[in-house]
C-alpha cells in the first residue's frame, strides 16, 4: 500500500522576506527541522542593504495542509516580514545555476562541449583535460543537463538552489 500522504505531496516554492539580522536563517531552518518539514532547496542573500532585508527562497514538498502550515509557521517568526507561496500565487519563474566540472579526453570531451552548446551552457574554465560549465535553468533542466553530461566525465557539481519570482509587473515586497 502506498502512503496516501506521499501521493498527495506537491512541490511549492516560497519566497520569504526577512530582516537581515544574525540568526534569522537558523530560525527558518530550525522551524523546518523542528516541525519535520522537508527542504528540497534553500537559498538566501541580502537584497536591500538600506531596508536591511534578505530574501530566502525555499522549495518544499508536502501535502496541501502542511504547505499551508509552512506558510503560517513562517509568518509567526518575528523577523519574517512577508511570506509568499509563489507556486499558489500565480505564474512564476524559477531559476537555478549549476557549475559543472567535466574531465574527459577525445570523443567524450567533444561530446561534452556539444551538449553544453545545445543547452546554452557557458564554458567558464578550461584546461587540456577539463571544462567548467555554467548553466542556468529550471531545476528540471539542470537535472536533465546533469544526466546527459554525467557519462561524459562529470566529476563535480555545485548548484545554487532555486530562485523564484512571480511573473508580471508587480513586486511581492
Amino acid at each position: 500500500m502506498t502512503d496516501p500522504t506521499i501521493i498527495n505531496q506537491q512541490r511549492h516554492v516560497f519566497s520569504v522576506i526577512v530582516d537581515d539580522e544574525p540568526g534569522v536563517l537558523a530560525r527558518v531552518v530550525g522551524l523546518f527541522s523542528g516541525r519535520g518539514y522537508n527542504i528540497d532547496s534553500l537559498t538566501v542573500a541580502s537584497v536591500d542593504k538600506v531596508k536591511a532585508i534578505s530574501r530566502i527562497t525555499i522549495v518544499s514538498c508536502a501535502t496541501p495542509q502542511i504547505l499551508e502550515q509552512i506558510e503560517a509557521q513562517l509568518n509567526r517568526l518575528v523577523p519574517v516580514r512577508k511570506v509568499v507561496d509563489l507556486t499558489s500565487a500565480g505564474p512564476m519563474l524559477e531559476r537555478e545555476t549549476a557549475l559543472l566540472k567535466v574531465n574527459s579526453m577525445g570523443e567524450k570531451r567533444i561530446e561534452a562541449l556539444r551538449i553544453a552548446d545545445v543547452f546554452h551552457a557557458k564554458t567558464i574554465d578550461a584546461t587540456l583535460e577539463s571544462f567548467i560549465f555554467e548553466f542556468s535553468g529550471t531545476n528540471e533542466e539542470i537535472n536533465n543537463f546533469v544526466e546527459l553530461i554525467t557519462p561524459l566525465g562529470l566529476i563535480e557539481v555545485v548548484r545554487s538552489g532555486v530562485l523564484g519570482i512571480a511573473r508580471g509587473s508587480k513586486a511581492i515586497f
Binding site: G23, Q69, A72, R76
Partner: protein, 599 residues
C-alpha cells in the same frame, strides 16, 4: 533664538548615557514591572548592582532558575501582565529552559534576561558560556543577543511587545557582561515601535457574519473554549458568558481555559478531553456545530482525529493563524483576538435578531442531561481511607466563598483538580497544560501569591512532583508567602502507575517512590508549617488549620488511596465516544495498537 552658552553637543549626549544595567532597570520601570524573579551569578552582577541601587522593582530570589520562570508564569497568569526573569549565563540560562518551553506551549508572556560572557569571549568556550540564543531559539517565541548598549532599551521594549502581543509567549534577552557595563542611549517605550511585528487582532467581519449564521442554524451546538479566552483578558470571558446566555448553548473548555466560563453555571458541561467529563466529550462527539473559541485542537482534546466530532461544521477563532487547519480542518476560520470576535458575534446576533432553534436545543439539552446523569465523576466512597477526590471535594467546600488561586503539579492530582475544583473566574487557575511540567505548581503558586497578597493560593500537588522544585519552599519562607501545598500523597507516580496498570499489564516499572521524605518534618525544616491527614475524619480539621496559616508556607500531606485511578478516561488513540467511566471497564482491550505509541 540666541543661545548664549550652548552645551557642546557631545557633552549633552554623554549626559544622557547610562550603563546597560541601568538601562535595563529603567526600561523595566517604564514597562510597569514591579516584580522580577531571579538568581545572581558572575555574568549578571552589574544588573544586580543596578537593582541594589533602586527601590521600585522588587527582586524575588528563587532557589533554582527553573523556579524563577515558573514563578514568573504564575505571576503572569494570575495578573495578565508579563512575567519577568533574570538569570546568569551558562547554567543559569540552561536551568531556565524548562520554564521557557513551558511558557511557550501554554502561551504565557514572559521576558527572561540572561547574562552572557563578555562580547569578545563569545565563542571561546569561556567560563559559564553557553549558546543561549541557540539553545532557547526553539523554546521561545523570540530571542535576542544584544551586543551594543545603545540598542538595549529598544530591544527590551520590543521584547515586551513581542511577549504580550498576538499569541503571547516567552522572549529571551541575552546580555553580555561588557554591554551591561557600557554606556548607552536610553529610549522610552513610546519611542519604540516594532517596525514589522504587528499581529492581526481584528477578525474579518465577513467570516464573523457567516459564523453567526451557522451558529444560529445549529441544532446540536457546543462552545469549545480554550486558554485563548484567558489570554485575551477578562473582557473575553465576559463576552463568552454573554454570548452563551444569548444562545443558551452548552459550554465546555480545555484544561487551559477553565474559569473563563463559570463552573457553577447550568450551561457548563465540564472540561473535555482525555480526562474530561463524559457529557463534555459526548456533546463534542455528537455536535453539529462546534464553536472553537481560542482552543487549538490539542491531541489531549481531540482523541482519535479521524473520528473527532464526525458530523460537525466547525468554526475556529484563533489569534495564531498557524493553529488553524493544523490538525483539524475547519469550515469557518477566523484569525484574530477571540474577545473581539465574540463581541462582534454578539453584535451581529443582536442586529440580525437571531434566536436559537428552541425545539432542537431542548432536545439537545435533554440528551446532554442524560449523559450528565451517568455522573461520570462519581467514585467509590470510603470512611476509612481518604479518596483523593474526596479530599478535593472537602477542599472545594471549605474554601467556598474565599477567593482562591489554584496551581497544580502534573499527574492524577492535576486532573482531579481540574475535575473537582470550582473555577468561576479567569486567571485563578494555573497548571502546566502543554508541556506537563512536574514541579510547576509550587513556584507558580509563589508567583501568584506575590501578585495577590492576602489571597488564598493553593498548589494541588503530587508527592513525586512536589520534590521536583521543593527548594522553592525556602523562597516562600523568605518572603513570608502563605502558599498552601496540598499534597495528594498516593506514594506513587500515580498517573504513570495508572497507565502501567491499564496498558502495560501491571508491570510497575520505577513508578513507586521508595524513601519519600516526611513532608511534615520537611515543611518544618524549611521554616513552614507541616500538617498531615491520615483518615477522612481528620481532613476537615487539617484543611481549616491550613487555611489559618497566613505568614508562611504550609504543606499538607494528605495520605490518599494508593490505588485510585483517574476516570473518566479516553484511552490513547480512541474517540470521544469511547470513554471509559470506571475501573470496571477493561481498558487494555480499548487501547488500539496505534494508541500504544501515543503519550
Amino acid at each position: 533664538m540666541l543661545n548664549i552658552n550652548p552645551k557642546p553637543k557631545q557633552q549633552a549626549e554623554h549626559d544622557k548615557k547610562i550603563n546597560g544595567a541601568d538601562i535595563l532597570v529603567k526600561a523595566l520601570r517604564d514597562q510597569g514591572v514591579d516584580t522580577i524573579f531571579g538568581y545572581p551569578g558572575g555574568a549578571v552582577l552589574p544588573i544586580y548592582d543596578a537593582i541594589f541601587k533602586q527601590n521600585d522593582i522588587r527582586h524575588i530570589l528563587v532557589r533554582q532558575e527553573g523556579g524563577a520562570v515558573h514563578a514568573a508564569e504564575g505571576y503572569a497568569r494570575s495578573t495578565g501582565k508579563v512575567g519577568v526573569v533574570l538569570v546568569t549565563s551558562g547554567p543559569g540560562a540552561t536551568n531556565a529552559v524548562t520554564g521557557l518551553a513551558d511558557a511557550l506551549l501554554d502561551s504565557i508572556p514572559v521576558v527572561c534576561f540572561t547574562g552572557q560572557v563578555p562580547t569578545h569571549l563569545i565563542g571561546n568556550d569561556a567560563f559559564q558560556e553557553c549558546d543561549t540564543t541557540g539553545i532557547t531559539r526553539p523554546c521561545t517565541k523570540h530571542n535576542y543577543l544584544v551586543k551594543d548598549a545603545n540598542k538595549l532599551a529598544r530591544v527590551i521594549h520590543e521584547a515586551f511587545h513581542v511577549a504580550r502581543s498576538g499569541r503571547p509567549g516567552p522572549v529571551v534577552i541575552d546580555i553580555p557582561k561588557d554591554v551591561q557595563l557600557s554606556p548607552g542611549d536610553y529610549l522610552s517605550p513610546a519611542q519604540v515601535t516594532h517596525p514589522t511585528y504587528q499581529p492581526k487582532t481584528m477578525p474579518d467581519m465577513d467570516a464573523i457574519e457567516r459564523a453567526v449564521d451557522l451558529i444560529a442554524d445549529a441544532e446540536r451546538p457546543i462552545f469549545y473554549t480554550g486558554g485563548g479566552i484567558i489570554n485575551s483578558g477578562p473582557r473575553a470571558s465576559e463576552a463568552l458568558r454573554k454570548f452563551a446566555k444569548l444562545t443558551g448553548y452548552p459550554v465546555t473548555s480545555t484544561l487551559m481555559g477553565l474559569g473563563a466560563f463559570p463552573a457553577s453555571d447550568p450551561q457548563w458541561v465540564g472540561m473535555l478531553g482525555m480526562h474530561g467529563t463524559y457529557e463534555a466529550n459526548l456533546t463534542m462527539h455528537g455536535c453539529d456545530v462546534m464553536i472553537n473559541l481560542g482552543a487549538r485542537f490539542d491531541d489531549r482534546v481531540t482523541g482519535k482525529l479521524s473520528e473527532f466530532a464526525p458530523h460537525s461544521k466547525k468554526i475556529h477563532v484563533d489569534i495564531d493563524a498557524s493553529s488553524i487547519n493544523k490538525t483539524v480542518v475547519v469550515d469557518i476560520p477566523i484569525v484574530g483576538d477571540v474577545g473581539t470576535a465574540i463581541e462582534m458575534m454578539i453584535k451581529v446576533w443582536e442586529k440580525k435578531k437571531h434566536s436559537a432553534n428552541k425545539t432542537a436545543l431542548a432536545k439537545w439539552w435533554a440528551q446532554i442531561n442524560e449523559w450528565r446523569a451517568r455522573k461520570c465523576l462519581a467514585y467509590k466512597k470510603s470512611d476509612k481511607i481518604i479518596k483523593p477526590q474526596y479530599a478535593l471535594e472537602r477542599l472545594r467546600d471549605l474554601t467556598k466563598g474565599t477567593e482562591t488561586f489554584i496551581t497544580t503539579e502534573v499527574g492524577q492530582h492535576q486532573m482531579w483538580a481540574a475535575q473537582f475544583m470550582p473555577f468561576d473566574e479567569p486567571n485563578h487557575w494555573m497548571t502546566s497544560g502543554g508541556l506537563g511540567t512536574m514541579g510547576y505548581g509550587l513556584p507558580a503558586a509563589i508567583g501568584a501569591q506575590l501578585a495577590h497578597p492576602g489571597k488564598l493560593v493553593i498548589d494541588i500537588a503530587g508527592e513525586a512532583s512536589i520534590l521536583m522544585n521543593i527548594q522553592e519552599m525556602s523562597t516562600a519562607v523568605q518572603y513570608r508567602l502563605p502558599v498552601k501545598i496540598f499534597i495528594l500523597n498516593n506514594q506513587w507516580m500515580g498517573m504513570v502507575r495508572q497507565w502501567q496498570e491499564l496498558i502495560h499489564g501491571g508491570r510497575y516499572s520505577e513508578s513507586y517512590t521508595a524513601a519519600l521524605p516526611d513532608f511534615v518534618k520537611l515543611a518544618e525544616a524549611f521554616g513552614g508549617v507541616g500538617l498531615r491527614a491520615r483518615t477522612p475524619d481528620e481532613l476537615d480539621g487539617v484543611i481549616k488549620q491550613m487555611m489559618a496559616v497566613n505568614d508562611r508556607p504550609c504543606i499538607v500531606d494528605v495520605c490518599v488511596d494508593e490505588k485510585e485511578n483517574c476516570y473518566p478516561m479516553i484511552p490513547s488513540g480512541r474517540a470521544h465516544n469511547e470513554m471509559i467511566l470506571s475501573s470496571d471497564q477493561d481498558i487494555s482491550s480499548k487501547t488500539p495498537d496505534e494508541g500504544l505509541v501515543l503519550v
